[in-house]
Symmetry: C2
Subunit: 227 residues, 2 copies
DNA sequence: TTTTAGTGGTGTACGGTGTACACACAAAAG
DNA sequence: CTTTTGTGTGTACACCGTACACCACTAAAA
């Protein structure tokens, strides 16, 4: 009795399937996640997946929810450090799973981790006495910046400064173009000299946004009168 | 003689192919742009397209360049209004072609309109006496905000306030969830009361970023000393 | 005018994709 | 035991991007 039969069935589960999909995407990008490849990696025939996942859309939805689930919040800190931490953690998660940003556009059915995340952010802001609509504005501005920043980093044609110069030089290669786009040429030159640190740049912009939010909050407190 | 033959060949061109592809994507979304559908719409056999376009990637690259080409700049205004105008125009273009944002992530080979655009933005900032790295930071922050904002608008599960309430109610439907996510519930309620204007919200955040950039510039001018 | 070269359009074919549907079989319930 | 309920299988279909060989037409050369 018991499972010494050596080919006892150890069934998959939705979670396992999604996890394998995430791993696959992390390694080879989103386009390497096909139902067939996923099935192969799960040692199962393609159609078996459909017992755990409604269809591919459903799978992708689940995948982005995994990413949201990896973002963590500090608790008990003031709103600014809490929001800051969240932003950094979100950025880390999106860099760990570079396919995620591309999925956000097109996924419109938020999963539980996503809902939990949104709820937590609003909690932080509201508990810090943000008026409702100020909180919405702040949240919106901040997430816009975070997502956009990652989106841009992803579609820049380089990752390291060296690559940057090489690539840029290639694009601007025809010398006439350096004259047609003089300010772009300057970018190439300066980039070569000093390099470009995405993380640093991200934090800088983040502070800029946080400053703006802080000011928004203070103005609001002024006009409304404090309790 | 000349072309009364009624079946004179009127050959396609790369531009025509790309234009048809854009039109197709505008109407039915990116996933309705298949080489076969594109060929059908161009009254031509699929393989004919490959005489004008290297492959589908090439086509997609060309499509995003069309979008960049539609963004226009005011000339002769101060940097702030110029940048503001550009942001609004960019937003309009991205809303006119909702598939574009999704394409940005993954496209890493900028077309001529894209290059021209980048060059122009840097021109505006540099002519306004932004130090180089401040200009880079400003540009980066602003575009991050713009793209992110659109990305968010796109993946929100609603477009009008009514849809918002309906959708949100559906998601939070199990009454237990309203207790699990009280702050999210508040969002639903407030959204129902007052609605949500994407355009207004965009401008608000944009001002926040522009303020931040202005401050960045002034600080820089302080520490460096003015000429 | 006839010839020639080159370009743009065609037809066929291949290996990939997501998934509908009918079936087989293992595990749990009676 | 038998029955019920799921999970895994096999086959099949429509669609995708595109390689390759071919043909038709246009425009330049003769």
């Amino acid at each position: 009795m018991a499972q010494q039969g050596a080919k006892r069935r150890r069934p998959l589960s939705r979670d396992k399937v999604v996890a394998v999909a995430v791993a696959l995407a992390d390694k080879g990008g989103l386009e390497s996640v096909s139902m067939r490849a996923l099935a192969r990696k799960s040692r199962v025939v393609p159609m078996a997946l459909y017992k755990h996942v409604a269809n591919k859309e459903d799978l992708l939805d689940a995948m982005v929810d995994v990413v949201f689930g990896e973002v963590d919040f500090p608790t008990g800190a003031d709103w600014r450090t809490a929001m800051r931490q969240r932003a950094m953690s979100m950025r880390d998660a999106l860099l760990r799973h570079r396919w995620a940003i591309g999925l956000m556009e097109s996924r419109t059915r938020p999963g539980p981790a996503n809902l939990r995340h949104h709820n937590l952010v609003m909690l932080i802001l509201r508990e810090a006495d943000f008026p409702f609509w100020t909180a919405i504005r702040a949240y919106n501005a901040m997430d816009s910046y975070i997502y956009g920043s990652l989106l841009q980093q992803q579609n820049l044609p380089f990752e390291t400064p060296e690559e940057a110069v090489e690539m840029a030089a290639e694009i601007i290669a025809p010398p006439s173009l350096a004259e047609e786009y003089p300010y772009l040429a300057e970018v190439v030159v300066e980039l070569a000299k000093r390099g470009f640190d995405f993380g640093e740049e991200f934090e800088s912009g983040l502070n800029l946004v946080l400053d703006g939010i802080e000011r928004l909050r203070q103005e609001e407190a002024m006009t409304t009168g404090s309790p």
